[in-house]
């Protein structure tokens, strides 16, 4: 070690840098204005150290990975030596050998870290052959496309899904040259527990995981003069779309987006912040009713579609606690197809409703059968920010220079409260702004609830509503939400109102947002700031003060939670299976006249002791001597988790099975069938 260097410093490429708690050499190098290339490093995920792109030379130690080497005082680090360059070039060449080379027709063309790094290293030849075997692409979901031929096995998606969401749908499988990253049993994304959030695709450095594009259908709609195309723009995208056109993250480009969409050919452009205001009122009123009756508390927010699917699959005991209010996207969809069409004097089937979203799971949400009436969906097309950017580029619009345009009237304007829906804590703050005035009857002077803001994974606050103290919690990232729910179930924590967002930072960190930043956390911080700025600049900052909202209640909905509102703006939830089509065969009937019994051993039923019921059932078949006529199997979910344990006898599902009623059900539903059939 060099003794001339100041006590707590290292030297990076000849520049002395004072250490100040940097975790690794990457962070130290950044202070010397050196951005070391990485594939598998993300500051919010665990350090994996596998891609080896970040190799640097440390004096006296040789080549070291910058991501997983802590800086030590006195270190002399060189980030660009001939050894480093040779190693990086070789590594990239190996990656390219295993990677599809059809860049020009890849979704991530010009937006791909592998491509960018290869270009910066000046790789002009791949000396190795191409992969012969072509693996099938997975296009099974509405949200994402997985192309294993473009995967470079960096494992970013594996860790994102495990660490941020604690779902873990991907893992490394096989070994050596056969290694793959894939879901269990090589299944499709639609067949596993994917919540379609796209956090994997946000971190994928190549085109192996991309947003499923609906750009073509959007073009078809806007170019068809027979159709009236109505867009809604989600809060989060207004502070991010500019990033793709050279504007800094967080810059508010709402007016430019409206102008661009109008140029493209959208007939009407509205603001999802408007329907967020609607959500605030409907959801808050629902909350008051529950609070008064002291039932179905805590109330969970339901605007995040990934959280909703996750809860439907895993928390049957909380389905009643989810707010029945639809998400802002679906509320606006419903307003378009049930109210605006009339005002526009256009038949419902001639209206195409397009939402511009930060989110890949919104594509799934729009296809939920609850939101499709007579085969007409409330939201026809969901474009993520990425797809919207592509359309703007296809139309050759000079986005940066566009003069801003306002939203269309009368339902265009959203309040500042609606705008902050896009950031974690925003829904809670928006609801508090409404709730305070509604419950105390006094005007809220200081509208900013700073206590619920910030990026801490779980935040809590207590608000005094004229004597009634209400405890709220805000959580983002499903892994954090799972911890919170666990504590709530065990009685360790209690809340009245819980806001859950699947993505870190809330919608500003959505799976469909613009990609590729060296410092993603900083981008999230600036996007959040952008939304809070947009709120501050709003004339109207409370949902209840929004004149368009007043107009809609007057003209259509009458009052919050009215029958019309319940019908058009609320929904319900279902237990959903996590694992599809798997059955463990335990006893096979040999007779043609048989009864099939399936006992659910999915998580919920398993924990309620369904395995013991299974044993008991096998005993019963023996006791009655009908083993040869009763098939018994174990299945993974009958989608009635709240009422479990469940069993299915032929096609009929029986719930609430216990040792006490099993014999009776067996006699009535199984034996009777066998007797009937023998006669």
């Amino acid at each position: 070690m060099n003794e001339k260097i100041a006590k707590k410093a290292v030297v990076v490429d000849g520049q002395e840098i004072i250490l100040n708690g940097e975790k690794n050499i990457l962070e130290v190098a950044k202070k010397a204005n050196i951005e070391i290339p990485t594939f598998c490093y993300h500051s919010d995920l665990s350090v994996y150290g596998a891609c080896r792109m970040c190799l640097v030379e440390v004096e006296g130690r040789g080549l070291m990975p910058a991501c997983s080497t802590s800086p030590e005082a006195g270190m002399v680090i060189k980030t660009t030596t001939s050894r480093v360059l040779q190693a990086r070039r070789m590594i990239v060449e190996f990656y390219l050998a295993n990677h599809e080379r059809d860049c020009t027709v890849c979704e991530r063309n010009l937006n791909c870290r592998l491509q960018a790094i290869a270009a910066s290293l000046g790789i002009d030849e791949v000396r190795f052959g191409e992969r012969e075997e072509k693996l099938p692409r997975d296009t099974s979901t509405f949200s994402l496309v997985r192309d294993p031929n473009r995967c470079i096995l960096c494992g970013d998606c594996v860790r994102a899904c495990k660490e941020i969401e604690n779902i873990g749908i991907y893992d490394f499988t096989q070994r050596g040259s056969q290694t793959k990253v894939e879901p269990a049993f090589g299944k499709k994304l639609s067949e596993v527990e994917c919540v379609y959030c796209g956090q994997c695709s946000v971190r994928c450095p190549t085109g192996a995981l991309v947003v499923k594009s609906e750009v073509n259908s959007a073009w078809e709609a806007v170019l068809d003069s027979d159709l009236m195309v109505v867009a809604q723009i989600a809060p989060a995208v207004r502070v991010a779309i500019g990033e793709a056109f050279g504007l800094p993250p967080g810059e508010i480009t709402t007016g430019k987006i409206v102008a661009a969409l109008k140029k493209i050919g959208f007939d009407r452009v509205y603001d999802t912040a408007f329907s967020a205001d609607l959500t605030v009122i409907e959801e808050a009123e629902e909350f008051f009713r529950r609070l008064q009756k002291g039932e179905r508390l805590p109330q969970f927010t339901s605007c995040c579609p990934s959280w909703v699917i996750y809860a439907e699959r895993n928390y049957p005991f909380y389905l009643e606690n989810l707010s029945s209010a639809r998400s802002p996207q679906q509320m606006f969809g419903s307003v378009i197809k049930n109210f605006i069409y009339e005002a526009e004097n256009t038949p419902r089937e001639k209206i195409v409703s397009v939402s511009i979203m930060p989110c890949t799971a919104k594509k799934f949400e729009a296809r939920r059968p609850e939101f499709i009436h007579d085969e007409i969906p409330d939201v026809d097309i969901v474009l993520t920010a990425q797809e919207t950017i592509r359309m703007i580029k296809t139309a050759n619009i000079d986005f940066k220079e566009l003069d801003p345009l306002p939203f269309d009237v009368p339902l265009g304007a959203g309040s500042g409260a609606g705008v902050i829906f896009g950031v974690t804590g925003g829904v809670t703050e928006a609801v508090l702004r409404y709730a305070y005035e509604r419950l105390t009857g006094q005007e809220l002077k200081e509208v900013e609830f700073k206590g619920v803001r910030g990026m801490d994974s779980t935040r809590e606050a207590e608000v005094d509503f004229g004597g009634r103290k209400v405890k709220v919690a805000i959580v983002h990232g499903l892994a954090n939400a799972q911890k919170l729910v666990k504590d709530m179930r065990s009685g360790e924590r209690y809340y009245d109102f819980v806001e859950v967002m699947n993505c870190p930072g809330g919608c500003i960190g959505g799976g469909g947002m613009p990609l590729e930043y060296p410092d993603y956390q900083e981008v999230l911080r600036r996007r959040a700031e952008g939304l809070y700025n947009a709120d501050r600049l709003s004339v109207v900052r409370k949902a209840q003060d929004n004149p368009s909202i007043k107009f809609l209640y007057e003209k259509w909905l009458k009052e919050a939670n009215s029958e019309i509102a319940e019908h058009h703006l609320h929904t319900h939830y279902y237990s959903r299976r996590r694992i599809s089509d798997e059955m463990i065969r335990i006893q096979e009937a040999k007779s043609a006249q048989k009864v099939d019994i399936a006992v659910c051993v999915g998580t919920s039923c398993y924990l309620k002791g369904s395995y013991d019921l299974l044993q008991e059932l096998l005993e019963l078949t023996k006791e009655y001597g009908v083993e040869d006529r009763v098939s018994v199997g174990a299945t993974f979910c009958l989608e009635r988790c709240t009422e479990g344990p469940n069993i299915r006898i032929n096609e009929e599902v029986f719930s609430g099975i216990s040792k006490d009623n099993l014999r009776q059900i067996f006699e009535e539903a199984v034996l009777s069938k066998l007797v009937a059939e023998t006669h």
């Binding site: 873990g168 749908i169 893992d171 490394f172 499988t173 096989q174 070994r175 049993f185 096979e588 398993y606």
Partner: protein
Amino acid sequence: MEIEKESLVLSRQFEKVNAILRKYSHNVDNLIAILQEIQSEYRYLPEEILTYVATALQVSPAHVYGVATFYAQFSLEPKGEHIIRVCDGTACHVKGSAQILKAVRENLGLREGENTTSDLMFTVETVACIGACALAPALMVDEEVYGQMDEEKVQQLVDHLLGEGEKVDAV
């Protein structure tokens, strides 16, 4: 009668899976040991049992699948009661192990892409070396080693395994 026997086996196997999970206190740290014991029960790792194991251990099915596919000792395909391992190490390879493999497969009536007979009696695999280079070309039937094989000897051996013809002496 056959089906009744199969039912018994199925039910006994599933009870065993639960006993194995209990034995390892439902702890995912013991996943490899759990999979080994389940495989010795089923002779392979059925997909739905792996999913059940993941549910019981409260980990994702992808995690269990990743471990199950990493190790060559685990099989996700049903294996035959007897495993025939044809050695394809250097010595055996040079001495014509390809012919031996072909002969084994033909005599068992295996079609291309098939490694297990339809009656689940035999599975044919190749291995890199069984340490019997002096006896090349060699193969193993379960734990028994047979050396200096040729096509005729293979036929004799398979006939015997199928319950016909004379016994072939193992090493």
